[in-house]
Amino acid sequence: MDNNNRKIDDNALNLLCKMANISLTQEEKDHLIIQLNSIAGLFDQISTHTTKKDSFSRRSTFLSDDTPSTFSNIEGILNNVPSKRDSSVLCPVMKFQGKKNEEA
């Protein structure tokens, strides 16, 4: 099974940061690239061990009854909201932008 995986370089790391919504300083990036690549080197172990495609074990998940129950501490949840108006959670700095960019 050919993974076709790219080595992690500066561009790759930038893209990963964007995907994960994390930003790094250049120094952190340089450091991280070396570390990520050495850790990623571990992964070849897996390919050598799993040449055959086994189906991994599956079990049945429990399905709950459709009976409503009200959570007892909604107030606590609303108290934790960093910015809100009445009981509406406010989105930081978002104004009407039409539909979203990454949509379901």
Binding site: M19, P68, L78, S87, V89, K95, K99, E102
Partner: protein
């Protein structure tokens, strides 16, 4: 020759009591953020527990659409960031959906084939108020169960797309799994449109979003086909993109260019085991499926002898069909029931903007009223006049008829006298009739009916009048 090809991606909100992965109430119109809990708010430590009812509803639809039920399917995580997505991922089904395939017949000769159907959770609702400086998020909707249906790109006209959506809405409302109303957000639809000059190849498809009605779906398809055709004629290549429908200006506008950046990093949901459908669940789902629109239509035509038009009308929505069926139970005249529903009742439903059961006359009461016409106790006209009273007072038809002395006049002698008097009172018209103006028959009938205060038996009156006019 331009051949448009259309594929649809539809999301249907299910009418379960609770959300897909927690037991918060799934209900619309409640005050913001009142149906929330750690699970649907994406709190640390909260874990999903799937809703069996939602699975049952998915099975019902899968079976009704003749899909291939996957007895074992998996949940997956679709990872992306957006304020309406509490966990930063959506629990959906990626590699193995609960239903593969399926189809809906949209015309005698035309079938739309489905690629797949799967279960997933809805996102929260973002409310952009015009003029407001910030967007609000209401998590009541976060976690509500959705069924996603993907069609094959096999429709070739905007009308077909419209019919498909109508049929789908009809089926889900028959199954009582969703209202299917786009205006309420219970049914959402994205469109993929491409054009080609040959039947064997497909052009570059373009996605259109932000459609709020079946009409918008059809209009956007028409617009896109035209836009793409214009580009093709100019030799400009069509790019892979997502466009949004602007209803006011009736056009699609570019939203973003499709590229590989939409990497959702799908992987199997580790907090859940597989979704296994047992034999009992499958049986239960099969048994829960009521008569479907197509079968009801056939039954109305073949068994009850109704016209195709009438059958179409009566099966358009499940409650009208149910009302009709209840009304004809033990009553041998489906045609008159059908007429009354499509005219008298329909008028009231339109005027009052209510459903058939909300009108206030039960199927059995209507049946009683219609029986009085059938056995000639009252005339059809009297019956129509009585309807508002019946609705208002809730009394039995026979009681009101008795109270108001509305019994039909069937005495030959009485009718004979009335006919004679009318003819005597209208000598000029009588002359004209005998001279050849046969249309005046209607005027005489009207006058006679008026003289009987509407209680004259129309058939008898008709016969007697004809006899009298022959002289």
């Amino acid at each position: 020759m331009i051949i448009p090809t259309i594929g649809l991606e539809i999301h249907i909100q299910l009418l379960t009591e609770t959300k897909m992965f927690c037991r918060c109430k799934s209900s619309f119109g409640d005050s913001p953020n009142s149906n929330i809990c750690p699970v649907c708010m994406g709190y640390p430590g909260a874990l999903p527990v799937p809703n069996r009812k939602a699975v049952e509803m998915a099975l019902m639809l899968g079976i009704a659409l003749q899909g291939d039920i996957q007895l074992v399917s998996d949940f997956s995580r679709k990872n992306y960031f957006y304020p309406d997505l509490p966990k930063g991922y959506q629990i959906t089904q990626d590699s193995i959906p609960i239903v593969k395939g399926g189809c809906i017949h949209i015309r005698e000769d035309s079938t739309v084939f489905l690629e797949r159907m799967h279960i997933e959770e809805d996102s929260a609702k973002m409310i952009h108020e015009t003029g407001a400086d910030q967007t609000c998020i209401d998590f009541n909707r976060a976690g509500v169960p959705l069924l996603e249906i993907v069609t094959h790109p096999c429709m070739h006209s905007h009308e077909d797309a419209g019919i498909f959506l109508e049929k789908l809405k009809q089926i889900v409302s028959y199954l009582k799994i969703s209202t299917g109303k786009m205006e309420e957000g219970a049914l959402r639809c994205d469109v993929n449109v491409s054009i080609s000059q040959s039947e064997d190849t497909l052009g570059q498809k373009v996605e259109v979003k932000n459609l709020n009605s079946f009409r918008a779906v059809m209009r956007s398809i028409q617009y896109e086909v035209q836009r793409q055709t214009d580009l093709l004629e100019k030799g400009i290549p069509i790019i892979a993109e997502t466009r949004t429908w602007n209803d006011e200006e009736s056009k699609t506008v570019q939203m973003r260019i499709k590229d590989s950046k939409s990497d959702y990093r799908y992987f199997p949901e580790p907090d859940l085991h597989s979704l296994v459908v047992s034999e009992e669940m499958l049986e239960k789902a099969k048994c829960s499926i009521p008569e479907l629109p197509r079968d009801a239509y056939n039954r109305l035509v073949t068994k009850h002898g109704l016209s195709e038009y009438d059958a179409q009308f009566l099966t358009a929505s499940p409650d009208i069909l149910q009302y009709f069926d209840e009304c004809i139970e033990g009553f041998a005249d489906p045609k008159i029931v059908s007429n009354w529903i499509s005219s008298e009742l329909m008028k009231i439903m339109n005027d009052r903007n209510c459903t058939i059961y909300q009108i206030g006359i039960s199927p059995k009461k209507l049946q009683e009223l219609l029986k009085l016409i059938q056995n000639e106790t009252i005339s059809g006209k009297i019956a129509k006049d009585l309807l508002p009273q019946l609705i208002q007072t809730g009394k039995n038809p026979s009681d009101i008829v008795k109270e108001q002395g509305l019994l039909q006049v069937t005495d030959d002698n009485v009718l004979f006298e009335i006919v004679n008097k009318v003819l005597q009172d209208n000598p000029k018209e009588l002359e004209r009739y005998h001279a050849g103006e046969e249309k005046l028959f209607g005027m005489f009938m009207g006058a006679c009916m008026k003289a009987t205060k509407g209680k004259g038996n129309p058939k008898l009156l008709n016969t007697i009048l004809r006899e009298a006019l022959k002289k």
